[in-house]
């Protein structure tokens, strides 16, 4: 039972960590401090504008990839301990 509890807690930690990145890249960089980021420019993009129209989407994909990786690892650890 103890192992199961820790699996769930680890799961929650991973989710909270990834959702904070999700929030920062979209609501943060794309909306709340987007004007501040606009002062910087990469190529033809103002950084805030880029986050709101492209950067956040790319970050979302990376978040899910990272999630799959972390969860598969967690599953593995959990399964070997369970045996």
């Amino acid at each position: 039972m103890k192992i199961k509890l820790s699996y769930w807690s680890a799961n929650i930690l991973i989710v909270i960590f990834l959702l904070s990145i999700w929030f920062l890249s979209s609501f943060g960089a794309g909306i709340l401090f987007t004007e501040y980021l606009d002062k910087f420019q990469i190529g033809g993009f103002k950084v805030g504008f880029w986050f709101s129209q492209q950067g956040s989407i790319i970050t979302f994909v990376l978040i899910i990839v990272l999630y799959c990786f972390l969860m598969n690892r967690l599953d593995k650890i959990y399964n070997s301990e369970g045996e």
């Binding site: 909306i31 956040s56 979302f60 994909v61 899910i64 999630y67």
Partner: protein, 582 residues
């Protein structure tokens, strides 16, 4: 070869492909009809999810809307993709572990209540039908413009195709046709985008062309666009006009709504294992991101191209596409200063938003509109929906590219329509018939009801397409707010809390839905004249109010659950079970 012939050829070939796949993958049990037997490969499911999700709105309308909204169009880009993060992290793996057929299935069992299941079915049907009507309109537009048939004929052809593969094949047929449709639609979206990116910036990757310098000029595309728009009296393209709180709420409502859309969730029931559900969500978002990172580039290219081609040009020498779209009534030009030259600028060109055409032609040969001209200098009315469809013509690309775009738009509309029809039919046959009203039916009878309700749903969707109720276009965007305020919170609470009980969940769903629905109905239908930031609660538009509805849902569910009896022991066991991947 002429455009119409090419369009028939390419669209016809794609239709033949879809039907062929349907015949090959006919469903023979309810398990296959509802969840394709649960054996879909995660990459295939990712593609199918992407096609299921990307509707006529994503393919046809989105880039056009962003084109005219500029930076604030980001709400759609972020909102419609960010929901996948919520879906992948908070819903898909657990619902897959639960492992039943429909979304109301989960709500019904987790909240041990037929009423909860029934309320979930109602929310699902309401959300799905508002959404499906938009798809049928998309099919109609494409048919009437590119195949020059009547819109009604177009809708009927679309209905027949969807009927064949959705009713015969069920989820199994839909899944593999959606894989094919994804390939068609992404190819059709990317080819013109790449062409135009090369033409304007010399960069073959539209995502990068978006941030590049204009070919042979020393100015970045976005800076040039700002300059051109400033000259005409518009705000900067890269500047936000809406209030922050509104942008925030609309984005959040679209995200939560996306994660709560039944036809998307149910796709994750079709993969073999929990880990496949996670991987599959990753693939789905990657496939979607290819289109969604291209769309804002297309928006900026097409806005610039449109102004370049149209502004200050003589009507009689405008390219053929301008007249074609004028003929079907999606563009109009009223020569306010009688100089025979088209002037474009900020503000509405006509008094009532949509043009009302007379049968006469004006001095330059344009269609005469009966609307009173407004008192600004803008002479052009343009329906935002045509930007993507007209884009290849505006950029003078070869005919086969234009035909391809038509086939892609049809793929996007049909794939989404089929996915929606399937969740409607399974909610009726499985949740209403089998689980509530007639539990004694066997698998074969249930399959029959599933097919029957799919057929009826297609007929209703078709009627919406032929006689579009005036409210449809306005309501589609609100399907998200409704999903966010009704379905999404109870799914989350069902997984992450063991304390929420049936009374709590039902009152949460009902309060969230009623609040959101009344806010929307009030501002859109009862008092549309009050629909402005001064009258909105906290400055939140009806598009974004779903977030507040969602919070109300959470609030009531938690408060009411905490003062009533906790759920029985077997529900705690069920929740523990879905939290474990194996």
């Amino acid at each position: 070869m002429d455009l119409q012939f090419l369009t028939y050829l390419i669209a016809g070939a794609s239709f033949a492909l879809y039907i062929g796949i349907a015949l090959w993958s006919k469903a023979s049990s309810t398990n296959e009809f509802y969840i394709a037997g649960g054996g879909v490969h995660p990459v295939a499911n990712g593609m199918a999810t992407a096609a299921d999700w990307m509707s006529a709105a994503s393919f046809i309308s989105m880039a056009g809307i962003i084109s005219f909204m500029g930076r604030d169009g980001a709400v759609y880009l972020m909102g419609w993709t960010g929901g996948y993060v919520l879906l992948a992290l908070l819903l898909a793996p657990y619902l897959r572990k639960f492992g039943k057929y429909t979304v109301p299935d989960f709500i019904g069992e987790r909240y041990y209540s037929k009423i909860a299941r029934f309320v979930a079915v109602l929310c699902l049907i309401f959300v799905s039908f508002t959404y499906i009507a938009g798809q049928m309109r998309g099919v109609g537009i494409v048919f009437s413009r590119f195949l020059e048939v009547d819109i009604n004929t177009g809708v009927i052809v679309g209905m027949v195709i969807v009927f064949i593969y959705a009713v015969l094949g069920g989820m199994k047929g839909i899944t593999y046709t959606q894989v094919a449709q994804y390939c068609v639609l992404i190819f059709a979206y990317m080819v013109p985008a790449i062409f135009i990116s090369i033409l304007i910036t010399g960069n073959p990757v539209p995502q990068l062309g978006f941030g590049s310098k204009i070919l042979n000029e020393d100015i970045y595309l976005l800076d040039k666009l700002n300059l051109v728009l400033n000259d005409l009296g518009f705000n900067d393209y890269t500047e936000s006009i809406r209030s922050k709180i509104d942008v925030f709420c609309i984005t959040a409502a679209l995200m939560a709504g996306t994660a709560g859309l039944p036809h998307v969730i149910v796709r994750f029931f079709t993969v073999p294992r929990v880990r496949d559900a996670r991987t599959s969500a990753g693939w789905a978002l990657m496939f979607i991101a290819i289109l969604y990172t291209t769309a804002p580039a297309v928006s900026s290219f097409s806005r610039l191209n449109f102004i370049d081609t149209i502004h200050n040009s003589e009507y009689q020498t405008t390219p053929q596409w301008f007249k074609n779209w004028e003929n079907i009534g999606l563009i109009s030009w009223s020569d306010k200063n009688n100089d025979g030259i088209i002037q474009y600028g900020p503000g509405k060109a006509l008094e009532n938003t949509k043009p009302i055409f007379s049968n006469q032609r004006g001095e330059s040969g344009e269609r005469v509109v009966l609307n009173k001209p407004s008192d600004n200098n803008n002479e052009i009315y343009i329906d935002r929906d045509i930007m993507v469809l007209a884009n290849p013509e505006i950029a003078a690309l070869p005919n086969w590219v234009i035909a391809l775009v038509a086939a892609g738009a049809l793929a996007a509309a049909l794939s989404t329509a089929a996915g929606l029809l399937l969740v409607i039919s399974s909610a009726i046959s499985h949740d209403l018939m089998k689980k509530i009203f007639r539990p004694s039916i066997n698998d074969k009878q249930e399959l029959f009801y599933a097919r029957l309700s799919a057929a009826i749903a297609i007929a209703i969707a078709g009627i919406f397409g032929i006689y579009p109720p005036a409210f449809v276009a306005q309501v589609v965007a609100f399907a998200f707010g409704l999903a966010a305020s009704s379905i999404f919170p109870v799914l989350i609470m069902g997984i992450f809390s063991k304390r929420i009980n049936s009374v709590g969940a039902i009152s949460g769903m009902v309060s969230g839905l009623i609040f959101t629905l009344s806010y929307i109905v009030f501002f859109k239908f009862i008092s549309p004249e009050l629909n402005s930031p001064d009258h909105w609660i906290l400055g939140i538009s009806p598009e974004g109010i779903g977030v507040v509805g969602m919070l109300i849902n959470f609030f009531f569910a938690i408060i009411i659950s905490s003062i009533t009896k906790p759920p029985p022991e077997e529900i705690r066991t069920l929740v523990n079970k879905i939290r474990q991947p194996s």
